[in-house]
C-alpha cells in the first residue's frame, strides 16, 4: 500500500473501518510521458482478496493481464469474490497524460472496503500499474494515491516487440507499442527473469537504434520513473 505517497494530507487519521459502506468514484491519471495503459480494472473487494501481492508469485489471471492486457481472468476472480468492479473506464488505452474516471461505485452493505487497480503498461513485457487493497475511506472527501510500476515476474524482459504472440502468457515479447515509436530486430535484453514474484519494475533499458541493438524500445521514450499513475478517489 502506498500510504507513503498519500497526498491528501487532511485525510490522515480519517480511515475508518473498511467494512463500512461507501459511494465513490475513482480517477486514474497516466503520469508517464510515453507509456500506455491497457484497459484498467478497478475493483472494491473484501479484505481477503488481492489481485497481486508484492513478493508473491503472480496468479495466472494476473499474468494474463500483465503480459497481454487480458482482464477476463481477474474479472472472473473478482466476481467469485463478490467484488464491485468496473472495467475499462478509459474506453480503451489510457494514453500518456490522459485520465479516466469510473462511474460511481457503491460498496453498499458489503465488506468490499478495499480498492485495487491493475492495467498493463505498454510497451513492456509484463509491467503493470497497480494498487493493492487500499482501504477505502468512508469519510467524504478527496483522497490521492500515487501508483508505482510493477513487474509481474512472469516473463523475461527481453524488450522485443512480438505483435503476433507477445501478449500470450508464457510467450516472450511485447504485444504492441501503441505510440508507434518502437524499433525492431533487437537481439533481446535478457532471456531470464531473476525474480519470479511481483516486484517493483526496474524500468526498461531501451537503446537508440530503431533497427537493431539489444532492445526494440527507445531509451529516450519508453523509460519511466515512479510514480506512473495518480489515483484520485472521491468519497461521497
Amino acid at each position: 500500500m502506498k500510504v507513503r505517497y498519500l497526498s491528501a494530507v487532511l485525510a490522515l487519521g480519517l480511515f475508518a473501518g473498511p467494512s463500512q459502506a461507501a459511494r465513490f468514484t475513482v480517477t486514474i491519471q497516466n503520469l508517464t510521458q510515453g507509456i500506455y495503459f491497457t484497459p484498467l480494472l478497478v475493483a472494491a473487494h473484501d479484505s481477503a482478496t488481492h489481485l497481486f501481492q508484492p513478493g508473491t508469485a503472480a496468479s495466472a489471471s494476473l499474468q494474463a493481464m500483465a503480459e497481454g492486457g487480458d482482464l477476463s481472468g481477474l474479472s472472473t476472480d473478482l466476481a467469485t469474490a463478490g467484488a464491485v468492479t468496473e472495467t475499462n473506464p478509459a474506453g480503451g488505452l489510457l494514453a500518456p497524460g490522459g485520465a479516466a474516471t469510473t462511474a460511481t461505485l457503491d460498496t453498499g452493505s458489503s465488506a468490499n472496503g478495499y480498492l485495487s487497480i491493475t492495467g498493463m503498461m505498454l510497451p513492456t513485457n509484463d509491467g503493470f500499474v497497480g494498487l493493492d487493497a487500499w482501504p477505502i475511506p468512508t469519510t467524504p472527501g478527496t483522497y490521492t494515491v500515487d501508483l508505482n510500476a510493477w513487474d509481474a515476474g512472469t516473463e523475461a524482459n527481453n524488450e522485443l516487440i512480438n505483435s503476433a504472440n507477445g501478449g500470450a502468457p508464457g510467450t516472450p515479447g511485447i504485444p504492441a507499442a501503441p505510440g508507434g515509436d518502437a524499433g525492431s530486430n533487437g537481439t533481446g535484453v535478457t532471456t531470464t527473469e531473476t525474480n519470479g514474484t511481483v516486484h517493483i519494475h526496474r524500468g526498461v533499458l531501451g537503446d537508440t537504434n530503431p533497427a537493431g541493438g539489444v532492445s526494440d524500445l527507445d531509451s529516450r521514450v519508453h523509460r519511466w520513473l515512479n510514480p506512473v499513475a495518480r489515483v484520485t478517489v472521491v468519497v461521497q
Binding site: 505517497y5 498519500l6 494530507v9 503520469l31 510521458q33 500518456p96 500515487d146 531509451s219 520513473l225 495518480r230
Partner: protein
C-alpha cells in the same frame, strides 16, 4: 530555426519546483489564529540528487484554485521558462495575477546537490497553500516542486515534511546535448519558446539516459541520473 529568446543564465533568481508527492509529517493541531493575522512560514528545500543543482526556488502562497502545473496539461510559459532555464520570474508573475494569489518569494541562489536553501514567506489568510518550483538544471526541461500543499492546519511551531519528485515540462525534447542543457554539465541554451518535438504536456520525468548509457550526443554522464524523490521540503510555521 528556433527563436533564441533567452539566456544561459539558469542561475538567476527563480523558482523551484518540485514534485507533487506529498509526505505528511506533522500532526495537524488545532489552530485558532484569526484569519487576518499574518502567518509566517520557513520553507527549506534540500537537494537529494547526486549531481543536479536546483535553480533558485520560486514559491507562492495562495488559496485553493491555483496550480503552478498540472500533470497532463500543457505548461504555462512561466513554467516552461523555469523548467528550461531556471528563471522563475515569469512563473511568479503569472501566479501574482491569479485570483488565489497571496504572496510570492524567490530563492536567493542555486541549491547544490546535498545542500539546502530556505526562504521565508507570509500571508494573512487562514487557508494558505504552498506551491513551489525549481529546475533540475542539468536537464532539458525537468522541474520539481510542490503543488498546493495545504498549510491551513499547521499550527505555530509545527512542521510539515514533503517529498518532491521530478517532472518533465514537455516543452523541449530531452536531447541532453550540451547546446540545450543550461546547467554546468552543458552550459547551453536556457529558455526557448519552441515546443515542437516534445509532447507539450506535463508528466513525471522518465529520467536522463546519459552518454554512459548509450545516448551518444548526451552531455550528461552517469552522475546526472536521478530517481525520485529529488528534493525534500520542510515547511515550518514560525508564527
Amino acid at each position: 530555426m528556433k527563436v533564441k529568446r533567452d539566456q544561459r543564465r539558469w542561475w538567476i533568481p527563480a523558482g523551484l519546483l518540485a514534485g507533487s508527492v506529498l509526505l505528511a509529517g506533522c500532526n495537524h493541531g488545532s489552530d485558532s489564529t484569526p484569519a487576518t493575522m499574518k502567518r509566517m512560514f520557513k520553507v527549506e528545500v534540500t537537494n537529494l540528487t547526486a549531481n543536479q543543482p536546483l535553480s533558485p526556488i520560486a514559491a507562492v502562497l495562495h488559496r485553493s484554485g491555483y496550480h503552478a502545473w498540472q500533470e497532463g496539461n500543457a505548461a504555462t510559459v512561466g513554467l516552461e521558462r523555469l523548467a528550461e532555464s531556471g528563471d522563475g520570474a515569469d512563473l511568479l508573475s503569472e501566479a501574482q495575477s491569479d485570483s488565489a494569489f497571496l504572496s510570492k518569494e524567490a530563492g536567493s541562489g542555486v541549491i547544490p546537490p546535498g545542500q539546502s536553501g530556505s526562504i521565508q514567506m507570509e500571508a494573512a489568510a487562514s487557508d494558505p497553500r504552498l506551491s513551489l518550483v525549481t529546475m533540475l538544471v542539468n536537464t532539458n526541461d525537468a522541474f520539481a516542486g510542490l503543488d498546493a500543499v495545504d498549510l491551513s492546519s499547521l499550527a505555530p511551531g509545527e512542521q510539515l515534511t514533503v517529498s518532491a519528485i521530478a517532472h518533465d515540462a514537455g516543452t523541449e525534447p530531452n536531447s541532453e546535448t550540451a547546446a540545450t542543457v543550461p546547467g554546468p554539465a552543458g552550459g547551453g541554451e536556457g529558455f526557448n519558446a519552441d515546443r515542437s518535438g516534445d509532447v507539450d504536456f506535463i508528466a513525471v520525468h522518465r529520467g536522463v539516459v546519459t552518454r554512459d548509457d548509450g545516448l551518444a550526443n548526451s552531455a550528461l554522464d552517469q552522475s546526472h541520473r536521478f530517481d525520485n524523490p529529488v528534493a525534500r521540503v520542510v515547511i515550518t510555521r514560525l508564527q
